[in-house]
């Protein structure tokens, strides 16, 4: 049963198993373990990014396709929900229509891009997606009539999913629509993650790995590389779009900065690499660590900079405003110390 659920993809490391269970436990009970607005925001973000990062890993780690357009799909899903909610009005139907159409549109767009990738070299493909994604971001800001431009869109979602909907309290935590919303995000993310886990451990997943290793030979033993790559791209795009839809439902706001920016793309890339490419569990670890760092690094630095007051230059470098500097350092160090990601590291130690 459990084997089936995790598709026989064991963590293969004691520490890793512990970490994963810990994360699952914390996320499942986040509203009760860490009451407070900020921590719930963080937990929801972790859930969503786990799915987003895992879907990217399907592309990058399992299929060896480097794309910078993943946020584009994420954004498509988010804008799908936003536009549906704006035009159809508040309601579950809008959420469903938005999510489905976002996912379908993403898959179609991915199909187009996937067919394109046949012709060009992998590294050029990466650069093309980079250019296309940046152009799409600009386009979204230009089409402000439709998309709200730079400023993005605010919209309402069903009342049962907002803080205004109050149900009383449990263990001293007030049960509101926000909490329901969180569990919607949590369970949807969990299901999507398990789905992805199954896909990469299916015969299809094995073919993807073979293609990543040596596409020439994969073709020569009878696999149509094009079809496999394209399907992987479409699947990955559709899942990313659904993650985007969840994000939109959670945030009740979409804008280019929250869904389409190159920065997010880099964050995703870093999460995949920190966690460990080519393993879905890497996505869990990577996303958790990174989102936590993003949210609490500044606070930590504030403390550190206070503690080092009086020393030359150091407090200046530790100033919370310089947190990006340390993020950059994190980028570099993670590649140094976790060349195979945290998961790879943990597995090799056991």
């Amino acid at each position: 049963m459990l084997t089936n659920l995790i598709s026989d993809d064991r963590p293969r490391s004691l520490i890793l198993t512990g970490l994963l269970l810990g994360i699952l436990f914390c996320l499942a009970l986040a509203p009760f373990l860490f009451p407070g607005v900020r921590s719930l925001e963080t937990a929801a973000r972790i859930c969503i990014f786990i799915v987003l990062v895992a879907s990217y890993d399907l592309l990058l780690g399992y299929s060896g396709i480097v794309s910078f357009a993943h946020t584009m799909f994420f954004g498509l899903g988010a804008y799908g929900v936003a536009l549906a909610s704006v035009h159809m009005g508040r309601g579950y139907d809008a959420l469903i229509v938005g999510t489905v159409s976002g996912a379908v549109a993403s898959a179609l767009l991915a199909l187009l891009i996937g067919l394109f990738s046949l012709r060009v070299r992998a590294i050029f493909f990466a650069m093309i997606t980079l250019a296309v994604a940046s152009a799409v971001a600009v386009l979204v800001s230009q089409l402000s009539g439709l998309t709200g431009g730079e400023d993005g869109l605010n919209y309402s979602i069903p009342r049962e999913l907002t803080p205004a909907f109050k149900l009383g309290s449990l263990f001293g935590v007030s049960i509101t629509g926000k909490l329901l919303n969180y569990y919607l995000v949590f369970f949807a993310s969990l299901a999507l993650f398990l789905l992805l886990l199954r896909i990469v451990n299916s015969p299809f997943g094995r073919v993807l790995q073979a293609i990543r290793e040596n596409d020439f030979r994969a073709e020569a033993i009878g696999y149509r590389v094009v079809f496999y790559r394209t399907l992987a791209t479409c699947l990955s795009a559709a899942v990313a779009a659904i993650a985007g839809s969840l994000f939109a439902i959670w945030l009740r706001y979409v804008g280019p900065d929250t869904t389409l920016s190159f920065e997010i793309m880099l964050d995703i890339l870093l999460m995949v690499v920190i966690g460990g490419m080519g393993t879905m569990y890497g996505a869990v670890i990577g996303a958790t660590i990174f989102v936590l760092a993003q949210n609490y690094l500044q606070n930590l630095m504030g403390v550190a900079s206070g503690a080092t007051e009086g020393l030359p230059l150091i407090p200046q470098l530790l100033d919370p405003d310089r947190w990006l500097l340390w993020l950059g350092v994190l980028f570099i160090l993670s590649v140094y110390f976790f060349p195979t990601g945290i998961v790879g590291r943990l597995r090799s130690e056991d």
Binding site: R119, I123, M127, I128, A135, M277, L324, G328
Partner: protein, 344 residues
């Protein structure tokens, strides 16, 4: 002397005409585009203005891209840090210019150009040194691994940009060009910024110099071979590491040069200015064909010209003109126009 093995005589067929034209095609693209511009624009003075300034813009883009043809094209390192070097170059160069106010503030071409040269040298020294450190600390462990290169160099980019904030402050720095480089010359109803003419001179000189170095020395060959099979290059007796460091430093220094030129053009510099140019610069290197100075040169001119023509004819399309150009060229030649190195 042993007897030779029987030589075999492979059969050769005649090349077809389109095949033969295809070879020269990249060289014809720029003239063709200019003619196309003339036909579709109509007004001669507008066409002249757009063409000359487009070519000059192409030169500036080429200067910024030249370092990347070495680092990305030849060495196969996706270096987003290049953008940071452009910014650092601009900051160092512009700081030097501000310090040389007595040279820039007077209307003497000689002094002005001397000041610019001094700024360029200062910038190139600093970015070259920075490149050396970057190679040692950041790039060395990730040769051959594109993905890690992207991450690590983006990390380096962020760190350098933040250090610019620490050292120069977060504000944009506005500046004006040296006296004689301000304003424009008018010619046949077309106004051409004087500064662009300087950029043309710099760009052409750089192009010729790079071509000579790469044609006359083995450096280009060593790097290309080294990327494919470093062990073998070392087994032939070359200190590959030294060559790689040298080329990386050169690429970084060229980014510094590009930074000064671009900063002087924009007349405002920010820590993110280089990063903003990266996509364009990558496009130029890609459509040119990896490792090809000639290709990058032609690519840059195409980008400069096309941008101007499209922005004049149909501003709405300006946004996608570069991407469309890249896509079209890659559909036509999947390896770029004149590839020296094969992309993977």
């Amino acid at each position: 002397m042993t007897s030779a093995a029987p030589d075999h005589a492979p059969k050769y067929a005649q090349l077809s005409l389109p095949d033969r034209i295809g070879k020269a095609m990249p060289l014809l693209l720029v003239p063709l585009l200019v003619v196309f511009g003339f036909l579709s624009i109509g007004s001669t003075s507008s066409w002249l203005t757009l063409t000359v300034s487009g070519l000059a813009m192409g030169m500036m883009i080429f200067i910024m891209a030249s370092g990347l043809t070495l680092v990305f094209g030849l060495m196969d390192v996706i270096n987003f840090g290049h953008g940071a070097f452009i910014s650092v170059g601009a900051y160092v160069g512009i700081s030097a210019l501000l310090a040389l106010e007595s040279w820039t503030g007077v209307p003497s071409l000689l002094l002005n150009v001397a000041a610019v040269l001094a700024a360029v040298i200062a910038a190139m020294c600093v970015t070259g040194a920075l490149g050396w450190g970057f190679e040692r600390v950041i790039v060395r462990p990730v040769y051959g691994a594109h993905l890690k290169q992207i991450l690590v160099t983006v990390g380096g980019l962020i760190v350098i940009e933040q250090m610019i904030h620490v050292l120069w402050g977060p504000d944009e720095i506005y500046l004006t060009r040296p006296e004689t480089l301000k304003g424009a010359v008018t010619f046949a109803g077309a106004a051409i910024e004087k500064y662009r003419l300087l950029a043309v001179v710099f760009g052409l000189a750089l192009f010729v110099a790079m071509r000579l170095v790469l044609k006359r020395t083995k450096i280009g060959l060593i790097v290309r071979a080294g990327v494919q099979n470093g062990e073998m290059v070392e087994a032939l007796g070359y200190h590959l590491r030294l060559v790689f460091i040298g080329v990386f430093i050169a690429g970084s220094a060229l980014a510094g040069l590009g930074g000064v030129m671009w900063g002087l053009y924009q007349e405002v510099i920010t820590a993110g200015m280089g990063e903003e140019m990266m996509i364009l610069v990558f496009i130029v290197v890609i459509i040119g064909g990896l490792g090809s100075v000639e290709g990058a040169f032609i690519g840059a001119l195409l980008v400069g010209l096309l941008q101007n023509y499209i922005a004049f004819l149909e501003p709405k399309l300006a946004l996608i003109s570069n991407i469309a150009l890249m896509t079209a060229i890659l559909m036509w030649r999947p390896q770029g126009m004149m590839p020296v190195v094969k992309a993977k």
